[in-house]
């Protein structure tokens, strides 16, 4: 039974995209991944409207003070097992805005992060590779203890 469930989790990862103060270039690259050239739906990946429906939370942008509490709240509202991907150099290390007064630190100071995708902006191929790594992590979760 758990084999089937793990297979199912690998085959239909649904994303929820959270833009915490990014220059929206990473978001556009994420949408690029959905459009014809890189079509991620062939791997079963969909971008969902509500965090309740999603397994993977994709966070772009350096988390500013305004976005930090909302990011925590959205993270809470997702149902387990869930994975967090920090997309773009702003999300991984705060990027060029690291020492701005409005910074609440890169994503991993706000919520636990599983996969980091560097690049400004990371190419769609890099995003797909990141999601694949996230799936391997999901597989390792197996019994869904997280």
């Amino acid at each position: 039974m758990t084999g089937l469930v793990t297979w199912a989790r690998l085959k239909s990862p649904w994303l929820f995209h959270f833009n915490s103060a990014s220059c929206n270039n990473c978001d556009i690259e994420l949408v690029d991944a959905i459009t014809p050239r890189f079509d991620v739906e062939r791997f079963g990946i969909l971008v969902e409207g509500s965090p309740r429906h999603a397994d993977i939370l994709v966070v772009t942008g350096f988390v500013n003070r305004q976005a930090a509490p909302r990011l925590r709240r959205i993270y809470e509202q997702m149902s387990n097992p869930k994975i967090v991907i920090a997309l773009g150099s702003c999300a991984t290390s705060g990027g060029i805005f690291a020492n701005s007064y409005n910074a609440a630190g890169p994503v991993d100071r706000v919520i636990p992060v599983d996969v980091y995708i560097p690049g400004c902006p990371p190419r769609p191929q890099a995003i797909i590779d990141g999601v694949v790594k996230a799936l391997m992590k999901l597989q390792s979760l197996g019994g869904g203890k997280k």
Partner: protein, 326 residues
């Protein structure tokens, strides 16, 4: 009490309701998504995708928001699946008219009519039980959509009933076996057009996917659902994707009937006919879905109460004309 009959009934219900209906429904969902992707220059999901989605959702955690009323919130999804499955069981697909399984009874058209609206009612009760403002807007729009398409739907469904003169699906299918599908008569054709428009709205596919418009109100009544209850709603939607085309094919296209199990020629012909009928209806729904934007609720209301009702009235009037091809 006739125990044999009850055993036969249970086997039949399990066979059709539990095994066939959800799987065929999920297959049609896959067809829709693959076709859509193909029309958008994309490759589209593999065949097993809908099954993977349902199993994954089943294994996820169900969250109940603080503002929700727990029991109603949890009862709504199984209610939706139950009524969709019940509708299919009563419509007895693939049943040769003579077989004993055929439990069609007078007035089963009306019962099926009601059962096909039940999943929408379950979604509305679930949505309003979740206490989310987007869900409430979704419930309001779903309700407006329901009684927008109710009038044309009952009028269009009435055309075959009046033509055949009975409220029993078996009689309607029997009539179409002799006189050829009702689609070939003018009033039948108009009724079929209206029924297809209503099918698009009943399955909430664009241009009528107003209740769960992703870009306006997040996910409508389904916003707060997660895990197993969301899986059941998706399953109910898949079963409806099989139930509504089946209902239309029973009314207008002569039903999915295997005339005789004995001689192979008619058997293969019938099976091909069944596949063609269902697939054509699903294809039409897919084409309408992928080549139209979403229209507003008042435009949908106007479209149903003006154009669709006029066509249905004309079809109804024509069906009273005793000429052969009317």
């Amino acid at each position: 009490m006739d125990w044999l009959y009850i055993v036969k009934l249970i086997v039949y219900v399990v066979l059709v309701g539990v095994v066939a209906a959800p799987n065929i429904g999920l297959f049609f969902t896959w067809m829709h998504r693959k076709l859509g992707a193909r029309m958008q220059w994309r490759i589209g999901p593999p065949l097993y995708q809908p099954w993977a989605d349902v199993v994954k959702l089943l294994s996820k955690e169900t969250i109940i928001p603080a503002t929700a009323h727990k029991t109603t919130f949890l009862v709504a999804p199984p209610l939706a699946v139950a009524s969709a499955v019940l509708a299919i069981v009563i419509m007895t697909p693939f049943a040769p008219p003579v077989q004993v399984y055929h439990i069609s009874f007078t007035g089963d058209v009306i019962v099926v009519l009601y059962l096909l609206t039940m999943p929408a009612i379950a979604a509305m009760i679930g949505g309003s039980a979740s206490g989310n403002p987007y869900a409430s807007v979704g419930v309001q729009r779903e309700m407006t959509l329901i009684f927008a398409y109710e009038l044309p739907f009952i009028m269009a469904a009435l055309v075959p009933i009046l033509k055949v003169g009975s409220l029993r699906l078996a009689d309607i299918i029997g009539y179409q076996l002799e006189h050829g599908p009702i689609l070939f008569s003018v009033s039948g054709f108009l009724a079929c057009v209206v029924l297809i428009m209503v099918m698009q709205a009943k399955l909430t596919l664009p241009p009528f996917d107003i209740p769960d418009a992703k870009t306006e109100i997040v996910a409508g009544p389904y916003t707060e659902y997660s895990g197993a209850s969301l899986a059941l709603f998706k399953l109910a939607h898949a079963v409806m994707l099989f139930a509504v085309p089946l209902f239309i094919s029973d009314l207008c296209l002569g039903g999915l009937i295997v005339r005789s199990l004995s001689d192979p020629v008619t058997l293969t012909l019938d099976i091909v006919l069944i596949v063609v009928k269902l697939v054509v209806l699903v294809l039409i729904a897919a084409f309408i879905r992928f080549f139209n934007p979403r229209i507003r609720i008042d435009q949908a209301f106007g479209m149903f109460w003006k154009t669709a009702t006029v066509i249905a009235v004309v079809a109804l009037a024509l069906s009273f004309v005793p000429l052969p091809y009317f």
